[in-house]
């Protein structure tokens, strides 16, 4: 890191080796106009607006791509440069159809800003009037080529940040345009709708449908919070105007996801089609009718108190809710009601992983500590088992894709479900139902024994080709730092065996720098990783025979969409007393005897613990409607009816949990 001395606009400044002229200027507060430059992306020098004069060179150079060298004498603001930049800008304006008065981006457009900054009153060049049609095929955003300046930020973002590379340039010269895949509508392409392109686009060439024409301001207040969508724990900022969320954008503090979000977190969370519950409901004469909170609370508490023995009362809570809600729910059930039949909706997965960890330890290994998500970047092979990452953990899927496309990292997928990653995998093993374990055992055998006989036998049992199994084993064996990622398809049958095999496989390879296995079981929900720790998962099997014994079931779903098929709903109908705590109406609330209106995700406060065991805070973004109540408040009210004092708010709950050493950095597994 040698220092170098340059002279910029008559000022002597220092630069570091490897810096571009633009970086040196920015470090010293020297303004250079840019358009195609973006701090997250590699510089390409496409727009030619950052041109500077370098003494000794008769050409103008783009500051963003010119390496700074010792002794350079640079001018950033001369008459020649001003003329050049204004002409370049006017060429951009006349190349396509830029009509500010009805552009979604007007007021917060970088092209427009440059026009104002340069004092441009009109483009001097005749308009080309190219015939360009907007592409509205994506559900969330519009590609409007009339506003495009071909800066390429979207192409680079899709390639370098999203890892998908759905966007690129098609055509050349005046026919150049941004295309999706080989020129298909974006909604039919390999685009995952992660929205990074929309966020980095400087003009109205890419804009969100939902917030289009709603906002002209550049600087709106934003609240940073943690996404409730899955166990990855992305941070994003909710931008607010007039008490509503305008859009989501990447947060400056996002230790897990950086600038990347997924379609669900960026766009999906803002699409709510269900109707909001604004008052408690209770069944009267077979119909659900609105009642006041005091009546609802007393009906629930009286019914609960009347049921003996208490173990005929069970509770299931969604791990999409913050850890404090899970903690207080189990505390209410265990200590107030007196039942330990509590679980989360994804309890099966959590129990299997806990059982696998115990079995692995019993078999003599030291504590199997799964690694964090940062290990994805250093992986030189991926083994993905029983997971549809693009569906359940899209940001992780994007990282895998990025590694596969940009670093040619080999990919093995084990799973019978048709998945996007399976289709591009180097080896895709599709075992017969519940035979994933056989595949993994086969891999382990091939890895450890070398002799292929047992492995081939296992491949037959699993219904996969022996050559594929052998190739997968070779890929895994040949890698120095292969990473295993597994999901709920592996644990759904309740058998910890395959997970133990994965732990053994991972042990065959060197661990990470901090001594963890290169293995990561992706927790499904935002609070899944902390659910066991706070006691929200007992042996209660709400889906199995335990349900038939229940006199009362208390379901706390928040705004989660609980997929229940016909048979499941029928079984719930058989429960004598069903309490559902939810924010929106659903088939589930329609079945309930009492419905307690809950908060939706933007109204909550608390803590999520992601799959790595990282605790991150959830901040309230919106005010809840008057009739909805926070879960902790409801549990405290009910607890009061049982004579048990429970925390009345998030802060109090957090103090209690801290006192018990809960929800601090931990490792699960």
């Amino acid at each position: 890191m040698s220092d170098m001395k340059l002279t910029i606009d008559g000022r002597e400044v220092t630069g570091r080796a490897g810096q571009t002229l633009l970086e040196v200027c920015e470090a010293h507060g020297i303004h250079v106009p840019t358009l195609c430059h973006h701090p997250l992306l590699t510089d390409v020098g496409a727009c030619r607006l950052c041109v500077v004069e370098v003494e000794g060179d008769r050409r103008l150079n783009t500051a963003c791509t010119t390496p700074a060298r010792d002794g350079m004498v640079v001018r950033t603001d001369t008459e020649r440069l001003r003329r050049q930049r204004v002409m370049t800008l006017e060429l951009l304006f006349s190349e396509r159809n830029h009509i500010c008065p009805f552009c979604a981006q007007s007021g917060h457009c970088e092209l427009q800003d440059l026009g104002y900054a340069f004092g441009m009153t009109h483009p001097r060049y005749p308009y080309l009037f190219p015939r360009l049609r907007p592409d509205t095929s994506s559900p969330y955003f519009v590609m409007e080529p009339n506003r495009c300046v071909l800066c390429g930020r979207c192409v680079r973002a899709c390639d370098e940040v999203a890892g998908v590379h759905a966007l690129d340039f098609g055509g050349r010269g005046s026919r150049q345009e941004v295309v999706a895949d080989r020129g298909v509508p974006i909604g039919e392409s390999s685009c995952t709708a992660c929205g990074v392109c929309v966020e980095v686009c400087p003009t109205g060439a890419l804009f969100e449908k939902r917030s289009a024409y709603w906002v002209r301001e550049r600087d709106l207040p934003a609240v940073a919070t943690t996404c409730p969508g899955c166990g990855v724990g992305c941070r994003f900022e909710a931008v607010l105007k007039d008490g509503r969320i305008v859009r989501h954008q990447s947060a400056s503090d996002a230790p897990v996801n950086g600038p990347l979000l997924c379609a669900k977190g960026r766009f999906g969370l803002l699409q709510e089609g269900r109707s909001r519950l604004r008052a408690p409901l209770a069944r009267r004469d077979g119909e659900l009718r609105e009642v006041g909170w005091p009546e609802a609370i007393s009906e629930v508490s009286e019914r609960l108190r009347s049921i003996r023995p208490a173990c005929r009362i069970g509770g299931v809570i969604s791990a999409r809710l913050p850890g404090e809600a899970l903690y207080q729910f189990q505390k209410f059930l265990r200590q107030a009601v007196g039942t330990d039949r509590v679980a989360t909706f994804d309890a099966c997965d959590l129990r299997v992983r806990r059982a696998a960890a115990r079995q692995f330890l019993r078999d003599g290994a030291s504590a199997p500590v799964e690694c964090g998500l940062g290990v994805v970047e250093e992986a030189d092979a991926f083994l993905i088992v029983g997971a549809d990452l693009a569906e359940t953990h899209p940001v992780v899927a994007a990282w895998v894709l990025r590694a596969v496309y940009r670093r040619q990292v080999p990919l093995i997928v084990v799973g019978s479900r048709r998945t996007g990653l399976g289709e591009i995998a180097d080896v895709w093993l599709r075992p017969r139902r519940q035979k994933e374990g056989a595949v993994l055992n086969g891999l382990l055998k091939l890895l450890t024994d070398g002799d292929g006989v047992e492995g081939r036998g296992l491949s037959r049992e699993a219904g996969v080709r022996a050559e594929d199994l052998t190739r997968a084993a070779q890929v895994y064996a040949g890698a120095r730092a292969p990473l295993i990622l597994y999901g709920q398809d592996l644990t759904r049958y309740g058998d910890p065996g395959p997970v133990v095999t994965l732990m053994r496989l991972a042990t065959e390879k060197g661990g990470t720098a901090d001594g963890r296995l290169r293995l990561c079981g992706l927790a499904r929900e935002a609070s899944s990783a902390g659910a066991l720790e706070v006691g929200a998962v007992s042996d209660f099997d709400a889906e199995g025979v335990d349900l038939d014994e229940m006199e009362c079931l208390y379901l706390v779903v928040g705004d989660a969409e609980v997929p229940l098929d016909g048979p499941a709903l029928e079984r719930l109908r058989g429960v004598p007393f069903l309490i559902v705590q939810a924010s929106h109406r659903s088939a589930l609330t329609d079945l309930a005897d009492v419905v307690l209106p809950d908060l939706a995700w933007p109204e909550r406060e608390g803590t999520f613990v992601n799959t790595e065991g990282r605790a991150q805070d959830v901040r309230r973004v919106l005010t809840p409607p008057a009739g909805a109540r926070d879960d902790l408040e409801v549990f405290a009210e009910l607890g009061g009816a049982f004579g048990k004092a429970l925390a009345r708010g998030v802060a109090e709950a957090q103090r209690e949990m801290a006192g018990e050493g809960l929800l601090t950095e931990n490792s699960h597994g």
């Binding site: 009509i99 008065p101 009109h122």
Partner: protein, 178 residues
């Protein structure tokens, strides 16, 4: 000394720029004192005399617009393109993506509620040009005042500067494209 003479016309525009001119409110008296407003939609005087300043709102989209523009250009010293239609093409140029025939058929035949429509052919009617274009594609324009509409303050500033015999510079605070 005689006040400088001003004429204004509107071509294919919505009249919004002229409304913005009127938004100078009582300052119209200052303008009227400093300059003589001759032909204009505001005065409703139809014949354009020789003037010092010609102000044009709207894009050129038919042959009548072109005739009016060329007439004014020939009779004025300084021509001002008022607003985005005159300077950037703006709304009128939306139709440029489509062949002219299609545009006319959409407007006169395929609109809902039209039965037995036909594209008017009367020789008295102005004929649409293939494309709607900003003024500078046809004549030399001396000053561009962007905006949809330009702020009243920008128009006031430009007119008073011109009346004083100076070429106006648009300060950044008054520069807007929408």
């Amino acid at each position: 000394m005689d006040r400088p003479k001003v004429a204004t016309v509107w071509l294919t525009g919505c009249a919004g720029c002229h409304m913005s001119l009127l938004d100078v409110d009582e300052r119209i008296l200052d303008i009227a004192a400093a300059a003589e407003i001759t032909a204009s939609p505001i005065t409703d005087l139809k014949e354009i005399p020789e003037v010092d300043v010609g102000v044009v709102e709207g894009a050129v989209s038919n042959d009548h617009n072109l005739h009016v523009l060329e007439t004014l250009r020939a009779r004025c010293r300084v021509l001002v393109a008022l607003g985005d239609c005159a300077g950037f093409g703006c709304v009128p140029m939306l139709r440029n993506a489509f062949p002219l025939r299609e545009v006319l058929e959409h407007g006169y035949i395929w609109t809902k509620g039209t039965a037995g429509g036909m594209v008017p052919q009367d020789p008295e009617l102005p004929r649409l040009l293939d494309q709607a274009r900003p003024l500078r594609d046809f004549v030399k324009v001396d000053i561009h005042l962007p905006g949809c509409p330009p702020p009243a303050d920008a128009i006031y500033h430009a007119l008073t500067e011109l009346a004083a015999g100076r070429m106006p510079e648009i300060p950044q605070a008054l520069l807007k494209y929408d």
